[in-house]
Symmetry: C2
Subunit: 199 residues, 2 copies
């Protein structure tokens, strides 16, 4: 149905292609956009084109950035003997927010998933091994997601990195802080028990 005219209908169609945006949200967003001041709508449109055009991957850690080497890899204050391996740049940003980690990162851009046809060759593992050769890395922390694909990737990485004489660690599984034990699943509870630490 084309009540609103082709401009709005086309915008609704484009917006509803985005993840998590259904047809109702798309029409709400479209109406918000057409009621925006024209310069704001242009800012939004330009930011889409610019972000898509400017996107680059750090030549060292493969994270999303807009320079050749990302600010973290080019920082002198980071500990370059530790590399944390994450699935994507957002996981890296999440760890950066903790302000606890001072080492470097490596972004795989996914996890091994034979079901979805993603083999180690699709991931930035070759680039990681290259870094392990040249840098004086003492520890690789595997911070892939705690799901089937993430665990498989962690196992794969530990198998190929350990023979290089580098320490491979995995982030702890356990109950989330602030959570309620009652609502935590059995696997997590068992993992939390296994990984208990002395007080």
């Amino acid at each position: 149905m084309n009540i609103y005219g082709s401009g709005v209908t086309n915008l609704i169609e484009q917006l509803s292609k985005l993840p998590g945006i259904g047809s109702k949200s798309a029409s709400r967003l479209a109406f918000y956009i057409i009621n925006m001041p024209e310069e704001n709508a242009e800012l939004l449109a330009k930011s889409i084109i610019n972000a898509r055009k400017m996107v680059k991957y750090c030549s060292v850690c493969q994270c999303i950035t807009d320079s050749e080497v990302c600010p973290i890899c080019s920082s002198k204050s980071r500990d370059n003997s530790i590399i944390m391996v994450v699935e994507d740049s957002r996981d890296m940003a999440a760890y950066e927010k903790t302000r606890q980690y001072k080492g470097l990162y490596h972004v795989l851009h996914g996890a091994i998933s034979p079901m979805n046809g993603i083999t180690p060759n699709e991931l930035k593992i070759k680039e990681l091994l290259e870094r392990l050769k040249s840098d004086d890395v003492k520890e690789v922390i595997v911070a892939t997601n705690p799901n089937v694909e993430g665990e498989a990737t962690a196992l794969y990485l530990s198998r190929i990195i350990k023979p290089l004489g580098i320490n491979v660690t995995r982030i702890a599984h356990g109950v989330p802080v602030g959570g309620d034990l009652e609502y935590v699943d059995e696997v997590t509870l068992s993992k939390a028990l296994e990984g208990r630490t002395s007080m």
Copy 2:
């Protein structure tokens, strides 16, 4: 924090200004966009600019359209003796989806709300009265939202239109089809009782 570089950060900022999009959704959308084929990102950006530029209001019913007179107002098969008054173009689209209504519409672009400084002058009421003068309208159906502002607007309209000798009706209040009586609020239940029809 500007880990991702200015392009992506700027896009996240622009997206999070949209209604219902928080910072997490904005970053998810931004990452989806930068991983899109470049031509799709451009299509999205262009549709924003086009929709904003092309947006026009029907000179008759004030709905959003891209022509001078909207397809409904210019249709010969609609009954021009009935006008349904709605708050915005989306409400009109919702009624169009029912395929039950064959009359015309009038879009107010809001509802009377003294709290938000919206008086009858801000709404397209003058344009409605103009139509009532010239057209041979027999009935005005007030389909503003069933909330305080919508009811106030309905009352206001009925007071100024009735003296013109035109029948003013209000859409029925009652229990929604498919709903569960148990979860329906008291006011709706009372309204449903008041408005009971013989079977």
